[in-house]
Subunit: 73 residues, 2 copies
Amino acid sequence: MRVRVLIRPKAGILDPQGKAVERALPALGFGGVANVHVGRLVELDVASLDEAEQMCERLLANTLIEDYEVQQA
Amino acid sequence: MRVRVLIRPKAGILDPQGKAVERALPALGFGGVANVHVGRLVELDVASLDEAEQMCERLLANTLIEDYEVQQA
């Protein structure tokens, strides 16, 4: 099955990429942008959603500073 | 509105992060993993999906080597 994993910085953890985007957008003429967060997207073929969650715990995400969400793609 | 942008390497473009994950997983005991792709996830508050697409064209994605997909979160 095709699975999509969304990996985001945990709430309260510094997100410098998000901050950089949030500052750059107004300079390009895009006003009113807020709460920008940048994370990672991993898509892969696996046997089950459960296996994908185990992969997140062991390799794909740094669970100390990141949250992950596994979805069927 | 809350918008989610999925950014992926274009088909045919080298994806070294994806390859690294694909090689690392079997070493951790996860067999049968295939077609791993690693991209970026950007989540932000914007006025419209259309505005988010313009942001992708101008800042968020490198359209030479990346495809993007804008979704309402």
